[in-house]
């Protein structure tokens, strides 16, 4: 069972069908859009509802005519298992395409890892092969145990550029606001010459919170770099097998595409391939 493809404009009948599916899913007793989200992770979400995923959830709940209910949980290892898969909610609004064990919508945005520097440094880095990287202090998010790494960490390791790296815990200190943004604050404060950061995080803090002007530079595709690993398609997700909810999410993302695009741009998210409609390959 899947929601019929609706490539045209929004039609009331489609929403009615969606609501029927919604009711048929398992949203009893109180029907609500149940979203699991991180309470402290701008620009994506926070408890005050200030993230773009909060706004997307509000749009959806409005369209569906149901209340929006959050389950707050830090988006760390086990997040999906302990929230969505465990039945605490029915929707997670941002997961990379290909994420295992869940049902994903087609991606609704695509972004990339970027170089972030202070504008007054005029560094204009564009490639991991830029020889200056061997002499600059580079800030990166340190993630995971053992073999887990951010894609830029892998690129730098492949090139042996490992001597002047400063690791910022992706988890940071959770009692302070938006801990993953410490990496960007490190650039602004001059702790590092350059940070290599995930686009949405970099764009948001460069546009709003940095205190000093920051420059975002796209990372060119070089020979030897794995471009798949630097650019990610991000989708909404529900539980594996929940085709009804997945269809509703897909329909909503398609219907609200103009608003979502505007929202992402407002949040400074560096976007790629957004001229392609969600539901197709972006």
């Amino acid at each position: 069972m899947s929601f019929p493809a609706d490539r045209g404009s929004w039609r009331p009948a489609a929403v009615a069908a969606a609501l029927l599916l919604w009711c048929g899913a398992h949203y009893s007793p109180a029907q609500a859009l149940r979203v699991c989200a991180d309470p402290n992770n701008l620009p994506f979400s926070n408890r005050a509802g200030q993230g773009f995923e909060n706004h997307i959830a509000e749009l959806m709940a409005h369209d569906l005519g149901v209340p929006l209910r959050y389950t707050w949980w830090p988006q760390r290892r086990g997040f999906v298992r302990r929230t969505l898969v465990d039945g605490q909610c029915d929707v997670v609004l941002g997961l990379p395409a290909g994420y295992p064990g869940v049902a994903l919508t087609p991606p609704y945005y695509r972004s990339s890892w970027v170089f972030v520097t202070r504008r007054d440094r005029n560094l204009h880095l564009h490639s991991f092969d830029d020889p200056r990287l061997r002499h600059l202090t580079i800030g990166l998010h340190a993630i995971g145990a053992g073999y887990a790494s951010t894609p830029p960490a892998v690129e730098l390791a492949r090139r042996g550029i490992v001597g002047r790296i400063v690791g910022y815990s992706i988890y940071g200190n959770y009692s302070s606001p938006d801990p993953p943004a410490d990496l960007l604050r490190g650039v602004a404060r001059g702790e590092v010459d350059v940070a290599i950061a995930w686009g949405p995080l970099a764009g948001f803090f460069a546009s709003r919170n940095a205190g000093v002007p920051l420059a975002l530079d796209a990372i060119a595709v070089d020979s030897g770099s794995d471009t798949q690993a630097l650019t990610y398609d991000i989708a909404a997700a529900t539980r594996a097998g929940d085709t009804a909810t997945r269809a509703i999410l897909e329909g909503e993302l398609r219907r609200r595409r103009p608003e979502i695009r505007r929202l992402l741009r407002d949040y400074g998210v560096p976007l790629e391939g957004m001229d392609v409609a969600p539901g197709e390959q972006p």
Partner: protein, 630 residues
Amino acid sequence: MSHASRFLVLLLLLLAACGPAGKHDPHAVDTTVEARKALSAPHPDSVVQRITAAPASGATIPAGADRGDKPGDWTLPGRDYANTRYSALDGINVANVKDLKIITAMSTGSLNGNEGQPLVVGNTMYVVTPFPNILEAIDLAVPGGALKWSYAPNPSRRAIGIACCDVVNRGASYAAGRIVYNTLDAQTVAVDAATGREAWKTRVGDINTGETFTMAPLVVGNKVYVGNAGGELGVRGYLAALDLATGKVLWKAYSTGPDADVRIGPDFHPFYAKDRGPDLGTSTWGGDQWKLGGGTVWGWISYDPELNLIYYSTGNPGVWNPDLRPGDNKWSITLFARDPETGNARWAYQFVPHDAWDYDEIMENVLVDMPVDGRMRQLLIHPGRTGFVYTFDRGSGELLAAGTFQPVNWATGVDLATGEHAIDPAKRTHTGVITENICPSSTGAKDQQPSAFSPRTGLLYIPAHNVCMNYEGTEANYIAGTPYLGASVKMFPGPGGYRGELVAWDPLKAEKVCGVKEDLPLWSGVLVTAGDVVFYGTMDGWFKAIDARTCMELWKIRLSSGIVGNPIAYTGPDGREYIAVYAGIGGWMGAVAFPDVSTDDPYTALGVAGAVPDLKQKTTPGGVLYVFSR
């Protein structure tokens, strides 16, 4: 319904009155029967111990390691300071262990992994549950046991999302009328053992930075020693000393950073040159990476009253894949000997420099004295995640013997002269490179589940795993709104057609004496008694007794859930010997049995699902405290 009322006696007195202790066993060896006829022992339980040959091993437990505790008590995590998990009780022995019956089964109220062990102090047993870390006091004087009181520390629920591998707790220590233990949200509590009233509660670590506490504290004198977990979150590991009277944190000895932070000073004398030099805790890392360097302290702590040193070992280096942290990454995966008063390091030995396999070496360090070449040596035995058992001189840090107790291929041996492993470069993992068939896997040839040492046999009884892994590169993952390349570690059974083994190990010859191969990896601890019986459990719920000298199976029983706890022996108010153990599957590997952990994907749960894809079919969760008697 309160936790206390959920703590129900499920099965009461299956054996209401235990049979006479001297009941004849037609299958017992003749010498035993003859000996019984010959001796007129006042207490039949002691007969077999008397006729068994005097300890031939020459091994002894270090003087003072039992604190003068009564033989029938179990007041420290490993029973004694030496972490031997040896009970001098012999009422249950090779001849009569087959008569063991369940006398009590009590729910712990937890569906998480019930690691660790209860304590017994006099007529009271103390149980610490997994999160939310309830402490229960059970009156053993009431037939079947009765709840005296329970204490709820109410740890923060946020700690659940931070703990890496199930929300376990490995137990408490008793000292000076107090039960001291850790809560998952990085606090240490002291509770009055008689009343259940909280004496103090100290926030030692900060869950906001990823720290959790799962280990069992050790109390020495007026100090409580605790350590943190969370290396994969960028936590910097440390051992902390707290004042037993007030809970005040007196000092922390970090595992990375400058010598001052690591408490390395002029009295630091590592045996091997590889471990000598100023500020190795910073200079063996690229840049400032030591700040997120891991080396957490979530295992067992030992203490030698004679040398007045505490011993523990540290976890793997934190957060980065190996290529991102060039250097030895000290003092991760390191055995430390420290002054208990000041925390100053006396010696250290880094097992694995520049770890590329996640060989977290927080395993127990068992302190024993044994004759080596005709003279008694003060030894420390460390059965390693690396697959080697290391026997050190615990005064100097010299490695006297090392050998593999399970299939190992990442290294071909250890040079006792330099302390260095001969590492196979083909098994070293690198970014973007597929490395296949590494043995053992990241779960190690054993994990935290502690071994036991019998001075009667001179053997260490090791709960082992035989699991290997492929490091297959990377897959997209997502944390804190950030996509990254997750580890694609796939584990699978090692060679030989078995996944676990109870290994009886000669620490001087560095060789296996005998063993029991098991289908599943062993995730329970081990108990050995003066009755020459070794007890352990399997992840599919079999609780077994084997002969400490021959490894022959003597008895087994299927319990309600997989066993990841550690058995103990104690004397009840009636003067008889009892054995207790938790059932309740969970922990890192055991979490595969949880309904919400999918085994469709072999990479699930950091790759362990590939090692035990059948676990969900073989056991179901549910913590129960079992007590056995004859």
